[in-house]
Symmetry: C2
């Protein structure tokens, strides 16, 4: 039987049309059933306008929408019939195999954890960001779900992202690095130093501390950090890439010769943009939950949505959660032995 993916068709900054278009593309390209969750009238009208809508696309009505700026916790408490909540409710009931959402990411996270719960052994589910690099993709975890973490959490992020990388990218022994401010193990803040000790004792292919400049070189497959640092990195990268292209554009616009040159080199710019486009993986998988979910960028294009649907189906088909639980179980003795992992006072111990 074909896998069945639910799409929160109301979220995102570009409106439902873009999301529905992505779903239609996915239905044509992949062997999948799709449920679009949202206002049935609105979504039906969009589907009718699109050329040859697939018979494998189903509409599921949800009367409410969570705004992009709404408080996640208020939203999941008060809007029980929102498209996000409905999508995860369907997942919980086993009617769909995964959820894709470009809506309020905090609410998506909260709804997933509330309705699906955590996988065995998982202390904190987290969001895995996938970055393009000069070589292959690098998975950075956590990129925003957990802003205050302990070493146990960072360690588990590394294990979960490694499992994801194995299953999705076919890497046997993904190289796991700990994001820090120097390559030596002694460098970093208290959290990183404690996490480093834990990774060193693990059976992961741990390559030690890595620095921000290594992120885009492609010499590491999994980068571990807390959700505050990861989210700052994610947004800084977006901002810098935009600023670089903006400044370059301004300089090119200053002379006719340069503009002509740009036109000639245009194909190279287009391939470059495609290469660094986050849309290739569509979004960031939420790992550690009893289910499968992809959190997409609010500005996701139809292509990004299509790709997120593909990645979600690959996560289900390749049983990424089984691999996560297996790899976490393997490391349970290590985690249980170390009582200090959950001990109170981390920062306060070292700051005079």
């Amino acid at each position: 039987m074909a896998l069945h993916i639910a799409l929160d068709a109301m979220g995102g900054d570009r409106g439902p049309e873009e999301l529905v278009s992505g779903a239609v593309m996915a239905a044509r390209e992949y062997d999948l059933e799709l449920s679009l969750i949202g206002d049935q009238g609105q979504l039906g009208a969009i589907l009718a306008r699109l050329d040859k809508p697939s018979t494998r696309i189903h509409l599921v009505h949800a009367s409410q929408v969570v705004g992009m700026d709404e408080s996640p916790f208020d939203a999941i408490r008060r809007k029980k019939d929102s498209s996000i909540m409905k999508a995860f409710a369907l997942h919980k009931e086993g009617k769909v195999d995964a959820v894709v959402s470009a809506g309020n990411s905090g609410a998506t996270l909260a709804a997933a954890i509330k309705l699906l719960g955590r996988l065995e052994h998982v202390s904190r589910p987290g969001i895995a960001g996938i970055f393009p690099t000069l070589k292959g993709p690098v998975v950075m975890m956590d990129v925003g779900a957990n802003v205050d973490c302990r070493s146990l959490h960072l360690f588990q992020f590394g294990v979960m992202a490694a499992a994801f990388s194995q299953v999705l990218f076919g890497l046997d022994r993904p190289r796991v690095g700990l994001l820090s401010i120097g390559e030596e193990g002694g460098k970093g803040n208290v959290l990183v130093k404690k996490s480093h000790e834990l990774f060193q004792q693990s059976s992961l292919n741990y390559i030690g501390n890595v620095e921000g400049r290594d992120t885009f070189q492609g010499d590491v497959d999994v980068m571990v950090c807390d959700g505050f640092v990861g989210n700052v990195c994610l947004k800084l990268s977006e901002g810098l890439a935009e600023a670089v292209m903006g400044m370059l554009g301004e300089e090119i616009a200053k002379s006719f010769k340069a503009k002509l040159g740009y036109l000639l080199a245009r194909d190279a710019f287009v391939s470059f943009k495609k290469r660094v486009d986050y849309a290739e993986y569509g979004g960031a998988p939420l790992l550690g939950i009893r289910g499968n979910a992809i959190i997409c960028h609010g500005r996701s294009s139809a292509v990004a949505i299509k790709n997120a649907i593909r990645v979600a189906s690959e996560m289900v088909r390749n049983k990424v959660n089984d691999r996560i639980v297996e790899l976490l179980s393997l490391h349970q003795p290590l985690v249980q032995e170390d009582d200090t992992l959950m001990a109170k006072a981390t920062v306060s111990e070292v700051i005079p």
Copy 2:
């Protein structure tokens, strides 16, 4: 009398020749006395080779060099006659007004704090990174001196960087933002939330939380973060800018037409590179010490060194430290009232 700047002429990845060239350029362009600290024979030979060495350049012998990868604390304990230690010793004795170093940055920091001490009211000196943006420069503090911080420290980084921004860039009320993962004050980790409350009560032109994507837009003059986050951002930015140019270069190299286009647009690329070049400010000022110091990138070019010497002299001439102490004094009541600032247990309070 002309100001007198000491240059650690042995540090950096490019060797003394590059550093000495920068000093010679500075001596020609600015009304300054310069002391080059390091191996007298080696530096003398380099100076002799350079065209028309200035009579305002003095050599001060130091028999030791701190390696780029040496442990800072070991280095300042064991290598009392290193070029870094000697430079700060001269500063302490009042023989020079500022120190510029492209050597081991940890050792530079440690030597500065050990020999010069902290300014009045300063809890933790920090490093202020200066980033180019689409508009003016943005000062980010701390970019690496303090990896584990409390809200008091972040608050003081904001005050010190604002004082620097006022004095160096002539901004009357620099806009101060707190680097976080959402623009609302309620977003961020425990440290950021506590710091936000403090900034809100201050007389600074505090614009609230800012995100990584705002860094390069130029809509904020001072960005506050702890030294771990700041250092990760610094290195990520470097890495991303290199990767972007690398990937773009690879795409351009693929076709003759694109290569031709690049040649035509070459001037635009050159102006762009100049615009984003960290060399414009030469390095990162160390703020909060009883003295003036600029920590330069290990890979600094002669131009970067020349510019760092200029910025160091401007810091002295414009009395940035007086402004720092004045602005900190103004906020002392705020800091003293709040007993929780230095209280133990921050992370542990909220993580179950």
